[in-house]
Point group: C2
Chain length 432, copies 2
């Protein structure tokens, strides 16, 4: 087959330019692999005049990308605008409704509207693909949908946000404070001016919901993710975790608990012998535990124009080859809708850290609250001077119900001894 797959690019930021460069550079090889060429026929972005370092003259410029859907010369629309609503969503809807295949790098849109869009795509019999939406250049969507397809996935989890991992591992390496590392990361362009999506766990949660839907065949449920970020992690937490044989990583974690879907983004204490403990810098990694495959891990660059373009064009090659099938791992009509598992029912060890006023009786107050909530303490790791007049107290609980840990902290919430809310992190174990 030599008919090209004719594509239109919506959005020409660094990722859009990356896709153009990739197709220019690797185009001949891609045609061999896909069985036919992939041809960019049209492009659209907000600002036509901007210099993007790539030659746009071979392509038709379209002012209103909404016109892609009705253009008979376009087979597939590639969306690289971003944002869960607005122009990206409009484009997805109109393109799919008019029978175009659709490739997107937009994790927020898939997390919020993936089910609706998948339904549209399957109704129209066209492809909707989103490899670039999760973990950048790592082919984890294909890894789960195809590579691990024979397995019941027991749980899926990983390091899904490069900015947070960069910050945590830089703090770990240099013993520096969160604020200082964040500022450096912003200066170096590794973190956004408004970093909240990254460091508060929202971006990781978007990706997690997509992985969960693929792994468990259950509808995407973004509202069901418990989300906490890394703003409250102190260098002392990292040091104390290390003394226990753990590294702190912001993980997205999803699993089915007794038929219910559990989804959480939270910093975890990861044992040093777990492969995620060795993922440093802005690298991403996804672990899938299958009932026959055992533990699989996929790692690589989680962002950047090259890796993202690599994932987008891999989707285009699938479409050009005709290897598409369902949007998730099974037809949208067969995906269930899972109830939400309550984290309170979960059992495990937790790391709890307090900043308290340096005065007599504080430790007794804390340990009494934990005793009253049936939480027993495995080790009181260290008490350390934080600033003048305040002290850090960290501990690891024995196996406890998470509900009991929360209850013990509730008991302390009005205490005049505590300076700010305690930080709670779970110890990653094989049962998590």
């Amino acid at each position: 087959m030599t008919t090209p797959l004719r594509i239109a690019l919506a959005g020409l930021g660094t990722v859009g330019s990356g896709v153009i460069r990739l197709i220019n550079e690797n185009g001949a090889m891609i045609a061999q692999r896909a069985g036919r060429p992939i041809s960019i026929v049209a492009v659209s972005a907000r600002d036509r005049a901007r210099d993007r370092g790539v030659d746009l003259s071979p392509y038709k410029w379209v002012d209103d990308m909404g016109d892609f859907g009705s253009d008979p010369d376009i087979d597939c629309v590639v969306e690289m605008i971003g944002g869960s609503e607005g122009p990206a969503l409009d484009l997805a809807r109109t393109s799919l409704k008019q029978g175009k295949s659709f490739v997107t790098a937009n994790k927020a849109m898939v997390a919020h509207h993936g089910m609706e869009l998948a339904d549209l795509a399957e109704t129209k019999g066209v492809a909707l693909k989103y490899e670039a939406a999760v973990a950048g250049g790592i082919p984890v969507i294909k890894g789960l949908r195809d590579g691990a397809a024979a397995n019941r996935i027991e749980r899926v989890y990983g390091i899904l946000n490069g900015t947070s991992n960069y910050i945590l591992t830089t703090m770990e390496k240099h013993g520096s404070a969160f604020d200082a590392v964040l500022k450096d990361a912003q200066d170096l362009g590794y973190a956004e001016a408004d970093p909240s999506f990254d460091i508060d766990g929202v971006d990781a949660a978007h990706k997690l919901t997509i992985l969960a839907a693929l792994s468990f065949g259950t509808a995407i449920d973004f509202e069901g993710v418990e989300i906490a970020g890394i703003r409250n992690i102190m260098a002392a937490d990292i040091g104390q975790a290390k003394a226990l044989g753990y590294r702190i990583r912001l993980l997205g974690m999803a699993r089915i608990d007794g038929g219910k879907l559990f989804q959480r983004v939270n910093p975890y204490l990861v044992p040093e012998n777990h492969p995620l403990a060795h993922i440093d810098g802005s690298t991403n990694a996804v672990v899938a535990e299958g009932n026959f495959s055992g533990r699989l891990m996929f790692q690589g660059a989680g962002a950047g124009d090259g890796p993202t373009a690599s994932a987008i064009v891999a989707d285009l090659i699938d479409i050009a080859r005709g290897d598409c099938g369902t949007v998730f791992s099974m037809p949208i009509g067969q995906m269930g809708k899972s109830a939400r598992a309550e984290s309170g029912n979960r059992t495990g060890k937790s790391y709890v850290r307090f900043v308290v006023t340096d005065k007599p009786g504080v430790l007794a107050e804390i340990t009494a609250a934990m005793r009253d909530a049936q939480v027993s303490i495995e080790s009181l790791i260290q008490t350390e001077k934080a600033e003048e007049g305040s002290v850090l107290i960290s501990m690891v609980t024995h196996q406890s119900m998470e509900r009991d840990v929360v209850q013990s902290l509730d008991k302390l919430s009005n205490s005049s001894s505590l300076q700010g809310a305690p930080v709670v992190m779970h110890l990653l174990s094989d049962e998590d």
Copy 2:
């Protein structure tokens, strides 16, 4: 589509039984994911009477597996016999010639006859799939063929033999000798009674050739792999590598050097900050470096009945979905045949270790031979007593042509000071 994919199993060892257990246990979910059920209709093995812990009564027993090819009730044959020639190869040829799809876990057969079989499959328009032949349960064939398809792969390499990695990392952990660890591994069932395929690098070489063909679109060339194993690695080598910030791993390494194909299996010194340095035990890991994706790594169990069955059934799901296409990453007729790159032309740092007689002048003799061959020494790491009367000398060279290192050792080959051949390992770098 509800017509099942009807499969026949050839070989009912632990892997064959694993496939039966997997399909029994995950069958309903697989039917959802594949769009239709996968049904075992016939089985064949040498010994019908043997208890395999699975119920074979639902399947037609076939004494002569050669009959699978002509059976109109079979769509796809799964080969789990092993061996590059003989019954496995006969079965592959007759099945493909008679228009059956074929799934195999047989790395040796694919390494030696993959091109012929791929040609047969593409001529007949049927699938030939071999995910289980490389790195067990890790979906690295799909990862390269589909996930990384947009990239020119710069190099592909990894830990491809679990037995060797288990031995090396156990030596690393306990400082024990090769022979002792091998014996323990044999007692525990981690190593074969005749371990030569694993520890001499042949098994890794089989897998490497398949990865190279997929990555570079060039014909499989098993004869072109330079192969060395781990028999000569001493605990002292591991300790000295560690002191330099490296871990010793048996790697398969393939890349295109100036249009020529370089393929080598050899122990390497892997820098501690490289992800392969953290792959312990029998785990496998494959790294692919793409010109847009950057470094991707896939890791998981490289062997075992569960992981292997997971890979085989993933192939069957591809076939059931109709997502097959070419056997390698492009049609067999478009794959080139690369000349072999000479390793002598390669430049890098090498670790060289001698066992010498403990007498005056030996070090002068060695260093003079290296000087004469233009090899300059970056560091003489340590000299250490091996046994009574013998001493270990290890060094790391500066960047040198590999040819020159070989030449320096040739000069020493008749020296009465050397006890056995020196061990040479390359330091893994970004240029390797």
